[in-house]
Assembly symmetry: C2
Homo-oligomer: 179 residues x 2
């Protein structure tokens, strides 16, 4: 596997502007990074402990409204580590679409079943595209903030590829349609 999800740098990246609890980090991953990344508590909490042990973040145990929290803050060393990773070339870009695997072996399933997979895919994309488009529109209105440009890049990536997907869905149905 070799560090697939890069939870270490994901956490450092999310902490680079704000201090956060592990729980908040999870929420951020599930919202802001949702379309291209994921991570579970079982991976976040142990990574936070390792990062703290190695001096990349510091922890502060507090109580807010009676709730015990551990708020993490990135250190200088943490910033360096993040920058180092950011400067390094991309190691792995991987598209892992089970849908494509099912289409590739579609001959075994037949036209009807394969069309259903395409339809399911299309429905999912059609449902998500408006959200991404809204995201783009919103970010385009607040570009004075330098940081937003970078968020816009990833949101636009989603919109562009999703539009490509929908075009492909049309082609795909035609290919299977003319028997």
């Amino acid at each position: 596997m070799a560090n697939e999800k890069r939870m270490d740098v994901v956490i450092l990246g999310l902490l680079r502007h704000d201090t956060m609890t592990g729980y908040e980090i999870k929420k951020r991953i599930d919202t802001a990074l949702k379309y291209f990344w994921s991570g579970s508590f079982g991976s976040i909490y142990p990574t936070l402990n390792t990062l703290e042990k190695d001096g990349y973040v510091t922890k502060a145990e507090t109580t807010e409204n009676g709730r015990a929290k551990i708020i993490y803050t990135i250190t200088e060393k943490g910033h360096s580590r993040l920058k180092e990773w950011l400067s390094a070339p991309v190691v792995k870009d991987e598209l892992h679409y089970e849908t494509l695997l099912k289409l590739f072996f579609g001959g075994e399933l037949g036209v009807e079943g394969t069309l259903q997979h395409i339809q399911n895919f299309e429905d999912k994309i059609r449902g998500e595209l408006p959200i991404l488009e809204m995201c783009v529109a919103q970010l385009e209105g607040i570009l004075e903030e330098e940081e937003h440009k970078y968020y816009l890049l990833t949101a636009k990536f989603g919109v562009e590829t999703y539009r490509g997907y929908l075009k492909w869905c049309k082609d795909a149905k035609e290919i299977l349609g003319k028997e």
Copy 2:
């Protein structure tokens, strides 16, 4: 993890028309499935043994040109298992692009470095797109064979999304360009 690479069904899918050795299965994964799937020997051979033990494939040890080979053949039970998986809805489509993660945190790296990541991405896509386009052209010429339609679906998916990527690269550079 929970069966990420679905090596079991990948193998059954590849064996559905031809008998193959583990080595040949690996080659097929690295060529035909290359753009959306991967797998290593350390995962293929153990899976083949399990599949054989459970009656989804049969093995035949032979010698060809003095080379010992184990040729695997799918059974009826194997076909059923494959069809069952094919009929089930897609569980997980995951895009895992480290590039997007680096762009999202790009504010920490700066414009120059981020542009470099985009350029690297573009170069890779530009290098691969012609291969996929050739693939599509070739498959479109031999569509009488029913099976080829399904291969065409996945190849076209690649072409369509790659074109979307290139369009995005242009946008992305503009976003970072106007400071």
